[in-house]
Symmetry: C2
Subunit: 492 residues, 2 copies
C-alpha cells in the first residue's frame, strides 16, 4: 500500500479516510459501521482518557459502570429521549443460537430463546442510570451525585465515517444529580468549561463555547451547552456537549428526594459526554498532506530516534549515543522511542513517523558522532536543524512546549480568520460557498427560519456563543428583529 496521501486540496474527505487508515489509527471492520481502533490510534485515545479522567476526578466526580442493555420499557420512559434514539438503536431479541437444521455447520437464532422484553443496546445511558438513581437518592444528603462512566455505545447510523460517525463508539458519559436547578446549571457549565480547557490546552484545538438552539438540543435536555471546533475544510465539528436535563428524567423515573425542610422534590439532572469523535477533530485540525500532526501532549511517542549507519560498528556507536539520549529524555518525563528496527531503511522510518505525526525526530549518523550533534526534525513545520548533543534534552523539552503552543496558535489563527460577520442572506450564501467557516449572523430565534436556512444552505446554527455581545439587528433571512449574532456553519 502506498504511504503517499491524497492531498487535502484534491479531496479533503479522501485525504481524511486515507490518513486514518495509513497512519494506523483505525479501520473499518466486518461489522457494518463499526470500527477497529488500532494500537496507535488507541494509544492517543488513552492519553485523552487519562487527562479527562484526571480533570473529572479533580472536580469531584467518580467513575462507575452501568449495564450495556436498556430494557425497552425503561428506554421508552422519557418520551423525547426515546423518540430521539429509537430510530437508530440495536435491539437484542434472543439469547441463544442453535445449529441450523437446514444448514449443517451453520447456526441460527433459537426461536425458543426469545426474550420476554427486548433489550436496547445503550445509545446513551440516561434511562438505565436514572432508573438506578431512584434507589440511590432519598435525601439531600445523597446529593450531589457526581458520576461518570467510560463505555461503548451504539447508534445505528446509516452513513458512517471512521471516528466521526460510527455505529459503535467509545465515550465517557457523566450523569449527575442535584438538589437545585442552580446547582445543576452550574455543573453543566463547569463541565463544558472542562471540555473547552481540555480541547484547547491538551489537544491544541481552539473551541467556541455556546448553547444549542432548541432543534439541535440533546433529546430530553432543556439546554445543551457545547464546544464547537472548526476543521481545516471550513466545516464545524461539535466536539463535546453538556446537557442541563431539568427534572425530565427525575420525573420519568420518579426520582425524588427530601430537601432540608423535609419536603419531597424531583431531582435536577445533567449529562455530558465526549467520544472517540475527538480523534476526528484532532486529525482534521492539525494534520497536513504528509500525514498526522500531533500536539506533543497527545503523542504516544513525543520523540523518535532513527540511526543511520552502514555497518555494525557504526550501529553500535550510534546506539550508545541514542540510548544515552533516551535515558536523559525519559528522566525528564518525555516519551521517546529508539527505532532500531533492522527490517526498515531510514527513509521508510522517516516517512512512517511523519505519517504518524511524531512531533520530533532525531536522526544520528556517523557525521553526527564526529561533530557531537544530531539532526532534529520538527513535524509541525517540517523543518530540520543540526543540534549539539550537549544540552539536547533541555532543548527538546522547551521545543515540545513551543510546538504545543505553535500548533494551537496556527489552528486559532485559521479559526479566527474563518469567522465572518454577514448582514445579508446573499453574503451569507457567498461566504458558505467560498470562504466557508463560521458565519456570524443575526437570527430571529425561530425554528422555522433555522430550518429554512438549513434547507437552502446546509448550514446549521452551531451555537449561540456564550460570549455573544448584545447587539440589536435583523435576521439575515427573515428580516425580523434579533438581539444578537449566532454562529452558522456546515458541520460534520
Amino acid at each position: 500500500m502506498s504511504k503517499k496521501l491524497t492531498s487535502r486540496a484534491d479531496d479533503y474527505s479522501k485525504w481524511y479516510n486515507e490518513l486514518v487508515v495509513k497512519a494506523d489509527l483505525a479501520e473499518n471492520s466486518a461489522v457494518r459501521g463499526c470500527m477497529v481502533i488500532k494500537p496507535y490510534g488507541y494509544a492517543i485515545w488513552e492519553k485523552m482518557q487519562a487527562e479527562l479522567d484526571r480533570m473529572f476526578k479533580e472536580t469531584g466526580h467518580q467513575n462507575a459502570y452501568f449495564p450495556l442493555f436498556v430494557p425497552k420499557s425503561l428506554f421508552e420512559a422519557e418520551e423525547k429521549n426515546a423518540e430521539g434514539f429509537a430510530k437508530e438503536c440495536a435491539v437484542v431479541t434472543h439469547y441463544r443460537l442453535q445449529n441450523d437444521p437446514d444448514k449443517p455447520g451453520k447456526l441460527r437464532v433459537d426461536p425458543e430463546a426469545k426474550l420476554e422484553e427486548e433489550l436496547v443496546v445503550r445509545p446513551t445511558s440516561e434511562a438505565i442510570i436514572w432508573n438506578t438513581y431512584r434507589n440511590w437518592i432519598q435525601s439531600y444528603r445523597d446529593l450531589p451525585l457526581l458520576i461518570n462512566q467510560w463505555a461503548n455505545v451504539v447508534r445505528w447510523e446509516m452513513r458512517t465515517r471512521l471516528f466521526l460517525r460510527t455505529a459503535e463508539f467509545l465515550w465517557q458519559e457523566g450523569h449527575t444529580a442535584h438538589a437545585t436547578k442552580e446547582e445543576a446549571l452550574k455543573e453543566t457549565k463547569l463541565i463544558n468549561n472542562v471540555y473547552a480547557t481540555f480541547a484547547e490546552n491538551f489537544m491544541a484545538i481552539p473551541v467556541i463555547q455556546g448553547v444549542k438552539t432548541e432543534s439541535e438540543r440533546f433529546a430530553g435536555a432543556e439546554e445543551t451547552y457545547c464546544i464547537e471546533a472548526l476543521m481545516q475544510d471550513g466545516k464545524a465539528l461539535q466536539a463535546g456537549t453538556s446537557h442541563f436535563l431539568g427534572q425530565n428524567f427525575a420525573k420519568a423515573f420518579d426520582v425524588k428526594f427530601a430537601n432540608k425542610e423535609g419536603q419531597q422534590d424531583y431531582v435536577w439532572a445533567t449529562s455530558w459526554g465526549v467520544s472517540t469523535r475527538l480523534m476526528g477533530a484532532l486529525i482534521m485540525t492539525h494534520s497536513d498532506d504528509q500525514g498526522l500532526v500531533l500536539p506533543p501532549n497527545l503523542a504516544p511517542n513525543q520523540v523518535v530516534i532513527v540511526p543511520i549507519y552502514k555497518n555494525e560498528e557504526q550501529f553500535e556507536a550510534i546506539s550508545e549515543v541514542a540510548n544515552g539520549i533516551v535515558q536523559k529524555l525519559r528522566a525528564k518525563g518525555i516519551s521517546v522511542k529508539y527505532d532500531d528496527r533492522d527490517t526498515q531503511r531510514p527513509g521508510a522510518k522517516f516517512a512512517q513517523h511523519e505519517l504518524q505525526g511524531v512531533p520530533l525526530r532525531i536522526a544520528i549518523g556517523p557525521k553526527d558522532l564526529e561533530n557531537e550533534t544530531v539532526e532534529l526534525a520538527r513535524r509541525d513545520t517540517l523543518t530540520k536543524s543540526s543540534v549539539a548533543l550537549d544540552g539536547l534534552e533541555d532543548h527538546i523539552q522547551s521545543l515540545l512546549k513551543e510546538i504545543q503552543e505553535a500548533i494551537f496558535k496556527k489552528a486559532l489563527d485559521f479559526r479566527d480568520t474563518h469567522i465572518t460577520k454577514v448582514e445579508t442572506f446573499e453574503e451569507f450564501k457567498t461566504v458558505l460557498e467560498t470562504k466557508t467557516g463560521f458565519v456570524s449572523a443575526h437570527w430571529d430565534g425561530t425554528n422555522e427560519t433555522e430550518e429554512k436556512i438549513k434547507d437552502l444552505t446546509k448550514a446549521t446554527i452551531r451555537c449561540i456563543p456564550l460570549d455573544q455581545e448584545p447587539e440589536e439587528g435583523v435576521c439575515v433571512y427573515s428580516g425580523k428583529p434579533s438581539k444578537g449574532r449566532v454562529l452558522f456553519a456546515k458541520a460534520y
Copy 2:
C-alpha cells in the same frame, strides 16, 4: 438498611451477597443478570486495571479496540468456539424501534428493520479479532502481534451472582499472534505468570498455576493455563486463564504469513483474560464478618481520618492536625481521606470504613491533641493502638507494607492447610464434605473418570499443577495407573 452482615458461619453465600451490596461495591440492575458497579467497587477495579495494564505494557503489549458485535457468519467459523458460546449469547436482530400502533406511548421492534445477518454481542473476541488479523499479518515481520483489549462482554448465564457470574462483565482479553508454536506457548505461560504475580503481589491472593484438563479447556484452545485460588468457604475460584490456541483460529480465518524462508504458514495464537470476577475473589479471600478487608495495594483510600469533637473549636484544632497528616501521607504517595462530614457521627463513620475495608483508620479526639497522639486502628486485625503524631507517616508507610504481607500470609496459610492428599475415594469424599478445599489425588487421565467424579461429588479438576511432582500411583476412582496428582475441588 442495617449495616450488620450475616456471619460467614451462618450463611457464607448470604454474607457475600450482603457484603457486595452494603459495602457499595455493586448491585443488581433492572437488566436480568447484569450488574451496576458502584463508584467504590469501580475504584477498586480501576486499581486492578492500572496495575495489570502496566504489566501488559511492560511485557510488550499494546491496547486496541475491536467491535462489540460479531456477525453470525464469523461467530460460527471456529466450530468449537462457536459451540462453546452459542448456547448463551445475546443476539441483535433489529436496528430500529418504532411507535407501537396498538399501544400509545410504547415502542416495538420495527419489523422492517431486520438485519440481514444477525449480530452476536461478543462473549469473547477471538472471531472478530482473527478475522481482522488476516489483513494485518502477511509476513514474519508483522509478528509477534501482541494486543490487549479492555472491554465488556456478554454471556447469557442463567444463574448469576454479583461479580462471580454476570451476564455482562468487564474484562481484558489479550490476543496474540506468533510465528512459531514455541513462541506462542512461551507467551501463554508468560501471561499466566503475570496473572499469578499480580494476584499474589497486588491482590494478596495466593494462587496455584496449572493447566486445565481437556474438558475444562476454553472452547477452541489446545491448552488452557490458569491460576486457581481458594476461597474462605473451601471452594476454588478460577481467577484467570491463558490459552494456547494452536493454529485453530488461524485456520478458521485463513491467517497465513510468509516465514523467513518465504514459505506460507498458519499463524500461532494465544488469548488470555481476567475479569471483574477478580472482585469476587478479592472479597472471598480476605473479608470477614465486619465487612471488606482490602490489601493496601488495592484500597482506594489506604487511610481514613475521623475527627472526634464536641464543638466547633475542637473540630478546627483537630482539622488542622488532620490536614497536616493528610499532606504528609500524600507526600509519601499514600492515599488518604479526611472524613469531616458533619452528617454522620464518628461511630457510623467507623462502621462504614470497617465495612468498606479501609486498611488503616486514624481517629483524633481532644485527648489526642493534648498528648500529640492519634488512635490508629488496623482493619485486618481489628486492633487499635495509640501512636505518636511525630513520625506517624513513616510508621504508617511501613505498617501498610506489613498489612499487605500479613493479609497474603493469612490467605496462604489457609490455602496451604486446605490442600489434602488422599489415596482412596472414601477419603476423597470425606475431605470434600468436611474440611473442603483442594483435594490432591491421583487420576487416570480420562474424561470418563473426571465426569464420574464430578457427578458423584460435584468436584472438578481445577488444574494439573505446573509444579506437579512425578509420582507413580493409582487413580483414586478407577484404580488405573496415574503419573501424578491433580487438584480437585468444588468451585465457583
